[in-house]
């Protein structure tokens, strides 16, 4: 009787989920496969600051049409604020203002840009004015010495810039550079110095800031590069590589030395920039159909959320897939893991570190942590203080690994910071206890089991096709739910149990 109840529930869940899926796919024509090359991008800037019961003026640099990208749509979300946009020949700036505001404030700017393939705009760029270098005194002398040296070793303006950037990579090797940079080796400072030196050499130049439109980025970083004006056109130089080429997926946001954003009358100004491939045209079309047929469906869909939240759900919706896999590995195969959901949390961390690095870093932290834990055993500490000290040690180990790998130039090692440290601590503690009570082999076996399950879960949770499918058709989760409910009454043998009971069949 009870089983029939379960079957009915499973049946109705799957019928509903599958029905909605088929309706959306067949009638509304939501695409089943992701488009390979996204041509439309959504870029969203979210500004936050604290106002102090005073008039506030906040400004933000805005992008404009470039040779490679055209802005097809843009909007501002700012409740109660007045908005003006100003345009000069280089940049556009939006200024939000309000007479009186208090507390945390949120301002949004959202743009949709399209990749355009126009090779040349018809307007001929005019010869820019050459700025006067602001360097004075000792700095001027150092800059002139450096410039003379670089000129000696280059043929034209392009190779000169390349030489300058290659020297800036190792600023300690050149005393002049050391003086000019004044110990601030940030990319921004290097770029600023480069413009000063090029001004001195009478080469027209400008700094360009932009974002890379290549993949989903929840927190996109602004990249900076340099352009010089030679033979009637602007040439880009990448400050890291020095090469006179900028990948075509860099979208120019603003130019010059102005900051991206500015605030007057508030403080703690912060910004997150989200870059997302726009729902492809296929989805746009499907959404249009939906708008006509069943507008409620769209009103309450994930597409109605802000981009930042959509980005979170893209990841969250993959967790059930990991859970389902974990369920199969534990209850049908019979693999033992430390902690029920520990492998899923590790798999989420692997998203940031990539699999190989994730496995290496995990093994490192756990092995070192186990060593420390065995030492702590001698001190005979009580449980909670022992766990707390282990947690502190795990964090120290993570920091040490980050610093060490950064020094070695392995920047992937930095991502160890994203490991769930509480889970790591509990894993180390449990491994140690199992080690003491059931022996090393059992402990290592369970540790490797957990790692294997985490890796498999990671692989499953990063299938781009599944990501697309679950985001466009979240009703498929009802099928997952039905599956897990059904598994809840699975009473067959676990695969590894067969080996255990093998002696019984002889």
């Amino acid at each position: 009787m009870n089983k029939r109840h379960l079957y009915l529930l499973v049946l109705s869940l799957s019928a509903f989920g599958l029905g909605l899926f088929v309706y959306k796919a067949a009638v509304l024509q939501f695409p089943l496969v992701p488009q390979t090359q996204a041509e439309l991008w959504n870029v969203e800037v979210h500004l936050t600051f604290f106002a102090k019961n005073k008039p506030v003026k906040a400004s933000l640099a805005l992008p404009r049409n470039t040779r490679r990208y055209a802005i097809v749509d843009e909007n501002f979300i700012s409740q109660g604020y007045g908005l003006t946009t100003v345009k000069d020949d280089e940049n556009r700036r939006a200024t939000w203002s309000i007479r009186n505001a208090n507390g945390k404030q949120h301002l949004y700017y959202r743009a949709t840009v399209r990749r355009v393939e126009v090779a040349d705009l018809h307007t001929e760029p005019r010869m820019p004015d050459i700025a006067i270098s602001p360097l004075l005194g000792a700095q001027l002398a150092a800059a002139q010495a450096l410039l003379a040296d670089i000129k000696e070793k280059s043929a034209d303006a392009t190779t000169m810039v390349a030489e300058l950037f290659s020297r800036m990579k190792h600023p300690n090797a050149d005393p002049n550079l050391q003086l000019l940079l004044a110990k601030d080796y940030s990319p921004e400072n290097k770029l600023e110095l480069a413009t000063d030196i090029l001004d001195l050499a009478k080469i027209p130049n400008r700094i360009v800031h932009g974002v890379r439109l290549a993949e989903f980025q929840r927190q996109a970083t602004i990249v900076h590069w340099l352009q010089i004006f030679v033979k009637g056109e602007w040439k880009s130089h990448h400050p890291e590589t020095g090469s006179p080429d900028i990948p075509s997926n860099y979208f120019t946001w603003w130019r010059g030395l102005q900051p991206l954003m500015d605030i007057d009358g508030g403080d703690k100004l912060a910004m997150t920039m989200t870059v997302a491939p726009n729902q492809e045209e296929a989805i746009q079309a499907a959404m249009y159909h939906t708008q006509l047929a069943t507008p409620e469906l769209l009103e309450f869909s994930l597409f109605s959320l802000p981009l930042e939240a959509q980005a979170v759900y893209r990841i969250l919706l993959m967790v059930p897939l990991g859970a389902l896999l974990l369920l199969v590995l534990r209850n049908v195969i019979g693999i033992k893991t430390f902690g029920t959901f520990m492998p899923i949390l590790m798999a989420l961390a692997f998203r940031e570190t990539q699999l190989l690095w994730g496995v290496i870093l995990f093994s490192f932290v756990v092995a070192l942590g186990l060593g420390v834990r065995f030492y702590l055993e001698h001190l005979k500490l009580l449980l909670v203080p022992r766990l707390a000290s282990l947690l502190i040690i795990v964090i120290l180990l993570m920091a040490a690994l980050s610093i060490l790998s950064h020094k070695l130039g392995l920047d992937r090692g930095l991502s160890v910071a994203l490991f769930p440290m509480v889970i790591l601590t509990m894993t180390i503690e449990r491994m140690c206890i199992v080690w003491e009570e059931r022996g090393a082999s059992e402990s290592i076996q369970q540790g490797l089991g957990s790692l294997a399950v985490a890796s498999l879960t990671y692989v499953a949770m990063t299938i781009p096709y599944m990501e697309h499918l679950l985001f466009v058709f979240p009703e498929l989760l009802l099928l997952f739910l039905a599956g897990t409910l059904l598994m809840g009454r699975y009473s067959g043998f676990r695969l590894l149990e067969l080996r255990r009971f093998k002696a019984l069949t002889q």
């Binding site: 005979k380 009473s491 043998f493 255990r500």
Partner: protein, 324 residues
């Protein structure tokens, strides 16, 4: 793989998923679990019902009491310390004697007062309890085992596990400590499990680390055909645990003391499945037989009679007709 699965299913072997989905989740209501999860409660319950248990020397409940441990232990030369909510025998320390300021463990190793104190505070902080809850440490009488087991156990105390389903004993085994198990009667720590014929109380062959054995690996004595003394009483006592706790599917652990006879050590609401390997038989047909007849199995005598009639060693033959 499928052939193996089929062969095991034909034998009526109960898997972990099936045990959980079909028996423990079904017949063991969660609100009864505290009765068996806390050994102190079980002990008090059993004593009230007139069942024999090892005498309790003392209970340590809070960290402050650990300082008084050496005083509490003063009158006793040998004793057992165990976590009240431990599982699978973890955290149990058996002390067999003293030498000056040190205690001798069953394995022959010595432990200092400080080591013992630390062990007790580990128990209190919940290291061995299910879910890591704060726990109590029980100090109780160390069982002097019956000489019948002298030849077939290595240090430690052998214990007897009987599975009681709806008040009917359905399967039994004796767990014999080995050198590997550090004197503990736990299969996963390397003890031997030997099946017992429910009708006669004689041991069948044994299992050691998932392997069938007929001799004890340390003493090299045969472990089959050993008559367990007081078998009737053992069955009687264990079957009464059904009324004691109300759990439909439980494992009863007993020991045979040289002078006091059978004593109940603990009850288990999720008993392990290795007993099937020790008995070379699956649990499923027996459980199904009991389920089918459960209406007629109310009185204790009827239940015991049913067990001895149907679950004798000869009925392990798979050709025997099975219950539906």
């Amino acid at each position: 793989m499928f052939a193996l699965s089929k062969a095991l299913a034909k034998q009526g072997v109960l898997g972990l998923n099936h045990r959980n989905a079909g028996y423990t989740l079904w017949h063991n209501p969660r609100h009864l679990f505290p009765l068996v999860d806390d050994k102190l409660t079980t002990k008090q319950l059993a004593e009230a019902a007139g069942l024999a248990v090892p005498k309790l020397y003392g209970v340590i409940e809070i960290e402050r009491q650990v300082r008084g441990l050496s005083n509490l232990l003063k009158p006793y030369d040998d004793f057992v310390i165990k976590p009240a909510q431990g599982s699978g025998g973890d955290g149990i320390v058996v002390i067999t004697g003293r030498r000056s300021h040190r205690y001798r463990k069953a394995s022959g190793h010595f432990v200092t007062q400080e080591g013992l104190d630390h062990h007790v505070s580990n128990i209190l902080s919940g290291l061995y309890s299910l879910g890591g809850h704060p726990d109590k440490a029980l100090i109780e009488y160390r069982v002097q085992f019956d000489p019948v087991f002298e030849a077939i156990s290595f240090q430690g105390i052998p214990d007897i596990r009987i599975i009681i389903f709806l008040g009917v004993p359905v399967m039994a085994m004796v767990r014999l400590p080995t050198r590997m198990s550090d004197g503990k009667a736990n299969l996963h720590q390397g003890a031997i499990g030997a099946g017992i014929d429910l009708a006669t109380g004689r041991t069948l062959s044994g299992v050691w680390k998932n392997e069938i054995v007929t001799e004890h690996p340390d003493t090299e004595q045969s472990i089959t055909g050993v008559q367990i003394p007081h078998w009737e009483t053992l069955l009687h006592q264990s079957a009464q645990c059904y009324e004691l706790t109300g759990l439909g599917y439980q494992g009863v652990d007993l020991v045979l003391d040289k002078t006091q006879g059978p004593l109940i050590l603990e009850l288990n609401a999720r008993p392990g499945l290795n007993i099937q390997i020790a008995n070379q038989a699956g649990l499923l047909p027996r459980l199904q037989m009991v389920e089918k007849e459960s209406k007629n199995l109310i009185k204790l005598e009827d239940r015991l009679a049913f067990a001895t009639r149907h679950f004798a060693a000869s009925s392990n033959d798979p050709s025997e007709p099975r219950g539906q």
